[in-house]
């Protein structure tokens, strides 16, 4: 007879008891699995499943990665337009901490209606441009014209705008206007885009030190992977190539820019 029959929660996990297995019938009383092996299986399986979730997400892990140099000389502003609460919530959860970690100062705005936060945004942008040589803008909104909010700022301040990412549909052509206004680089999408898929990859890689060109390529590749997964799981209802045509982001301006480059 085995010395140890079982492990029971009744005496506190994982104390050993001499109780036989409780759903045994007749002579089938052998212990199904040794406690040590059961514990290993029960801990290993979720680890494997975590690995599969990471693989499915399609992006590398940046485990406790360091912030690229020059944090003290850059700031960022992000603005989310008035969409359904779940999108506002998800964008905030994903974006806020990335900006806080990688920029000396950051501002995040969520609009409650069209045109909301205009004064606060303009005021924060002015403050950022006055205090930091490099300011990045994340315009996380559907087709938008936030560029109008920036036009009124003095030229010498506007020249400190470094990188602008715009998730808006059909906002790719704004790139030349942002460059004319003083920005160094701009990324936008050409059509009715599914930009959140791209943004996930872009933000992570750009903030971890990739050049805009590299982050753009990784973002487009990652987005393409998501679209293919979507096409596969919906049995072709979503067409990956059609989605890519509308969503493939492009960059204008200084494509070799890195987060650590602080020169405006």
């Amino acid at each position: 007879m085995p010395l140890l029959w079982n492990i029971s929660l009744r005496k506190g996990f994982p104390f050993v008891t001499d109780q036989p297995p409780q759903d045994t019938i007749g002579n089938h009383t052998r212990r199904p699995m040794r406690p040590g092996k059961a514990l290993a299986v029960s801990l290993l399986l979720p680890c494997l499943l975590y690995g599969s979730v990471v693989l499915l997400a399609g992006d590398r892990l940046f485990v406790f990665s360091k912030t690229p140099p020059g944090r003290e000389s850059r700031a960022a502003l992000a603005i989310r337009d008035d969409v359904i609460p779940f999108f506002k919530w998800g964008t905030l959860l994903f974006t806020r901490q990335y900006l806080r970690k990688h920029y000396a100062e950051s501002w995040y705005f969520t609009q409650a209606s069209k045109g909301d936060c205009r004064e606060e945004f303009a005021s924060a942008l002015k403050q950022a441009l006055e205090n930091y040589p490099a300011v990045d803008l994340y315009l996380l909104a559907h087709t938008n014209h936030y560029i109008r909010w920036v036009k009124d700022l003095p030229e010498e301040l506007r020249s400190r705008i470094r990188f602008v990412y715009n998730t808006g549909c059909h906002n790719e052509p704004q790139g030349k206007d942002w460059l004319a206004l003083g920005a160094d680089a701009y990324i936008g999408h050409p059509g009715v885009s599914e930009s959140p898929f791209f943004y996930f990859f872009l933000l992570r890689h750009w903030l971890h030190g990739a050049t805009l060109e590299e982050a753009l390529a990784l973002g487009n590749d990652g987005m393409h992977l998501k679209f293919r997964q979507l096409e596969w799981t919906t049995f072709g209802r979503f067409q990956a190539e059609a989605l890519m045509k509308e969503s493939r982001a492009s960059v204008v301006g200084d494509v070799g820019l890195r987060l650590g480059d602080t020169a405006p």
Binding site: I7, P35, L93
Partner: protein, 107 residues
């Protein structure tokens, strides 16, 4: 009934996953609905902390359920229950956990 209590833990672990599901459904509305009741400055902290708790509790429940099934039940009972209840509970929990780690900029 008491003799089979350990069999109930696996369905309970799966059932527990309705809680983070409900949280994902209600939290955005509490924060950004027409009448928000959570200040925006709290949203990130409260949401990430809640998701982390749900993820860890879900993992612990599913691990305990799997362990008890493997040690106290015959395999033809344990394995289907683990695949039907523990694996989905694990998958959802590690999904939330990965989300939390990404939001914390730890991975």
């Amino acid at each position: 009934m008491k003799r089979y209590a350990h069999l109930l833990l696996a369905p309970a672990a799966l059932l527990f996953q309705t809680l983070p599901g409900a949280f994902l459904y209600f939290a955005p509305t509490l924060a950004f609905g027409k009448k928000p009741i959570m200040p925006e400055s709290w949203v990130w902290s409260v949401s990430v902390m809640s998701l982390a708790l749900f993820a860890l509790a879900g993992l612990a429940l599913a691990c305990a359920a799997s362990y008890l099934l493997l040690t106290r039940s015959r395999r033809f009972v344990a394995i289907p229950l683990i695949f039907l209840c523990c694996v989905p509970a694990w998958l959802l929990s590690v999904f939330y956990l990965h989300g939390v780690l990404v939001f914390l900029v730890w991975v």
